[in-house]
Symmetry: C2
Subunit: 707 residues, 2 copies
Amino acid sequence: MKKELNWECSIAGKNDFFYARVPGNAQEDYAAAHNWGDVNFADNCEMYRGLEDYGWIYRAEFATQEDGTWFVSEGIDYECDIFLNGSHLLHNVGLYKKIEIDLTKFLKAENVIEVHIAPVPKDGRSGTRDEAAQVTKPAVSYGWDWHPRLVPTGMWQKAYLETRGESFIFDVDVTYTLDDALENAQVCFDITGGKMPEIRLYSPDGKLLYEGNETEIEVNDVELWWCSGQGKPTLYTYEVTAGENIICGTIGFKKIELVMNDEAWDEPSDFPKGRSVPPITVCLNNRRIFAKGSNWVAPEIFYGKIKHKRYDELLTLVRDANMNILRCWGGAVVGKEDFFDLCDQYGIMVWQEFPLACNLYRDTKFYLDILEDEAVSIIKRVKKHACHCIWCGGNELFNRWSGMTDQSLALRLLNKLCYELDRDKPFLPTAPVMGMGHGHYLFYDADIDKTVHEIYGNSRCTAYSEFGVPSLCSMENLRKIIPPELIDEPAPDTPWQTHHAFGAWDAAGIDTWICRSVMEKYFGVGLTVEEMIKYSQFLQSEGLKFIFEEARRQQPYCSMAMNWCFAEPWITAANSSIISYPAEPKPAYYAVKAALRSVMPSLKMQHFLYTQGELFSGELWFLNDSGKAADTKINVFLMYDDKKELIITWDTGVAAANKRGHIIQFVVPESDNKCMKIRLESSAGNSEYSFLTVPPAEKEDFSIMNG
Amino acid sequence: MKKELNWECSIAGKNDFFYARVPGNAQEDYAAAHNWGDVNFADNCEMYRGLEDYGWIYRAEFATQEDGTWFVSEGIDYECDIFLNGSHLLHNVGLYKKIEIDLTKFLKAENVIEVHIAPVPKDGRSGTRDEAAQVTKPAVSYGWDWHPRLVPTGMWQKAYLETRGESFIFDVDVTYTLDDALENAQVCFDITGGKMPEIRLYSPDGKLLYEGNETEIEVNDVELWWCSGQGKPTLYTYEVTAGENIICGTIGFKKIELVMNDEAWDEPSDFPKGRSVPPITVCLNNRRIFAKGSNWVAPEIFYGKIKHKRYDELLTLVRDANMNILRCWGGAVVGKEDFFDLCDQYGIMVWQEFPLACNLYRDTKFYLDILEDEAVSIIKRVKKHACHCIWCGGNELFNRWSGMTDQSLALRLLNKLCYELDRDKPFLPTAPVMGMGHGHYLFYDADIDKTVHEIYGNSRCTAYSEFGVPSLCSMENLRKIIPPELIDEPAPDTPWQTHHAFGAWDAAGIDTWICRSVMEKYFGVGLTVEEMIKYSQFLQSEGLKFIFEEARRQQPYCSMAMNWCFAEPWITAANSSIISYPAEPKPAYYAVKAALRSVMPSLKMQHFLYTQGELFSGELWFLNDSGKAADTKINVFLMYDDKKELIITWDTGVAAANKRGHIIQFVVPESDNKCMKIRLESSAGNSEYSFLTVPPAEKEDFSIMNG
């Protein structure tokens, strides 16, 4: 029996209580109570900085003296002390540990429970994300190039009273062993608590397969859990009951490995000889899969408020984009149960990182103790989900800006804990590891004078774990964040910059993420905001399309591609997300969705910009990652002005994998219409690729207004 | 009170006992009893193949019924059952576990203890080293390119009876914490057994520092343990006594890390961006050190017979060669206590690998259980030694011929165990890891037409973990292994091949390790054995000299160089060892010793072979890895015929690190003497570098008989 509580909250010491949502975040409720307005608007987010060094007191009153009354919270963010009627019951640090306290001996007729939350923890006082270097809170809250500095705390997970009798079931951990043929499973129920628990196991279509109190059950002719695009995400269900207590759950039977990428054992070849790259090919149920997906961040700044509906609208978009994997990035909070439940159901494989990102998480006993506690909580919860496939220590830890190494104790500890608690899942210390490619985040890199076509068309990676192209959000969303008087003049040091259009990424100067100079290069100076929206979204679409398809063309040496990033936790003016907050697909979403079709015609372009009269050269491909044989006939058209000229027809022949086709070549025609397209039409669907052209005389100074 | 036993041994089931040495190996004693002759001679080693599938019974009789009589062995190789008077006492698998059995309740007036050892364990029946893929026995025993197929088993460590009273001390584990300044240590004695044990701690010069029964002791003004060349290998000593029991040991205070190599954080620079290389720079007591040394293999085929004297003669040579590190290779047996004791005393840092090498050690429960047991025994024993600096999972595991990866459970398990039991030491999963260079093993590689000068002079590695150049052994040693009638005609399919002169390394064809074609390239066809000995040893000396000095010149990006290999376990006809069995330095030993002097003049040559009249170009260096400032004046001479021509004089100026000097250039003179030398003379010692020359007309067909 669970009983909800009515919470209120105050800044510690101020005794000025306001209504508090649980789950939620203190700062959000404080702002609501004080009419701060939409956090998305203008510079509103900056007001929260002043709240960082306050503690918070959550308080709820209730009247019960029933024996076996427990206080339960699935996580409190971050350092807290819990009191009942003034008695100190518990001190905890970390947001992932389930808190369970038997209140019986402290209860009176009327009770007050208080949760005191310490100010935002900071390692040093740099004012930057460095302050997250000794905590398990999401580093992103401390400020990122697409996230404001805004560090929520509070009761971010459910909290309730629960009456627990003798036969209460504390936990059910279901594990299984599949035979080599993946046909039969030995299922083991490890039940904590529960007197004489009874188990019921149901088939995916709801048929009772087993009822009784054996904790080891044989399941024959198992239907396996498959990721989207490869089969059905089949789930069995179970109930464990003891008295009036019941715990329900699902089981998805699968075998998951990271296996060596094709050709990777052949390298290195020269002396002095190094090692071969680590394996990154997802092998699900003994089938090698091209993992295609996106990088996932928490979809709200105030991650406490995320509920099922919010996850569902986004994860439906993920599945519909032909994606089969999400990399849950280490800078963000680990998802709530609803997130993993939905990924289970939608067949979305989850690469889950521990909460480390872009920092040097030092080897102190203080930190390692917290990390161990938190990691154990994360592992025990997440490993139960069919969707969960890969553990990873965190984001970009083996690069200069983090400064961690293979010797860092935090990562050795995480490897050890995963080995102990979930050893059949792959463990990566970080991303990127050797062989993987991470970044770039621009359509055109002026430093090296290359577009994505030239960068990725000549790279060789086992996986592309992050890559992005920024774009502006829609005018409708811009109006929600930029005051009307500023909307026509994107400028630094205004809410445009607060929302990451300028100075987001220091290394690239003030021009990120708006990348105005790139748009000016292709489309001329003096662009209006409407034009910048249109052109940036056009470049994002063309860029991501190229990269995803190129990664697929590099199969099997390459076996994974995940763009940075899927959605965003607030409205950014410019960002590489393909979903604008809260769930509004940008044009690039549809381009990516098209580029991830299992079976499709594809073109490898060499460049984005051609001089008219120059030779265009591109390689035809027939992409097929379905694992099933297919064939088609591809008609290739050049489209410009109102013309649609057939260039070639390619009969692909039958293939159960990618097939490389002809190299098409033609002289770029003269035209006033500087944006031209190659269109591939086939019974397996159509694909379109744009390129820009410039008349020879104009090469140095041109603009395209009809792109 | 320890009591030695007199052992005899028989093939199981044959009841034909012979005298058995303990420690020792059954096969060696059997051969001695049956007059098989020196295992080094001719094809004698092949006779042992017939013994592999026999079990062995060790037996000893003794008369005591004293209470508290234990049977103790520090390791039995490999799978054994122990019986006392017919009663089965223990079953064990693995050679590293200490065996301790209280015999009291089984004793009679007259007793027989038997140790039954199972036949050689084999995974499959390939007849190759693949058979070692599920065992912790040294893989090398199953056959290697410098080791015959000969798999010893038996009681390879000490075994004895011991009377243990109530106050017996089972174990003393001493750990310490140094303060940040490395000035004061908190020493902790973890004593198992021993009633009211008393501790005495002595300073390095024998002064009593502490006496009493506190188990946590503060030591102030600590004298640190340093590796050879950087300071003194200072050892404190302790005694723990309880009643008549005493355990003595040493403590060497040090801080050991692997830190990022200089410049390594700057890489990679391009997008898509990978990770930076893992750190491999040894940082001892906060000082970055260039680690220079050698790869160590067990110095006997019958590793059970290795005693203090054998280790001492070799480790003295290691220290005298200016080496500060040994990589104890994973294919060999882990050293006995005497090995580590001597390394403690001589200041030789030990990189210890677990017993995995060049195999796919599969993730079976069978293997992982044994590995865990064995690894725990190895870690607990080796970690106590001051000399021990690095743990490593094993040899070349992340390359095709092994097929293991970062996901292999054996390596994740080893990381976990090292983290739990000895986390302050670095752990490497294998060698090479990313950034390290492993191999080559030839002076001249015909496939790419390059000598070591061209290969290493253009490589860029953080460490050179293995590299070798083969040579023949001395005529004196050859006479011990090759029958007189075959000695003048090195040929395949004779004892020359048994002793690795031919077909040692399949990938390179029949011509390894004698490399006759290389000698013929430089010195002409029709060479006598004496000439081949001389020329191969000359090339080995010049080759290793170049590689070691080049690795040092690549400091600080490169921070480690270890040749393959130091000594050898039997007499090879040709091998890359620099010590011929048992402890006979080859000329290359002295070349390496010279190349590893802390402060020295050095020359980077570009090629080994010049046409007379061609321009010679080489770069002068002043090498200094002492950490102390030094300077010198270097006179550079060209020496040929009887001439000694001064080319240049370089006043290096003061430097506490390496210093790059001038590029010397001259036209190679004409001479009948085709071997010329550059000689560097300085107050910091002299160095010499040979190169071969050929008159223009003779370039395609020449020979040098006076090299």
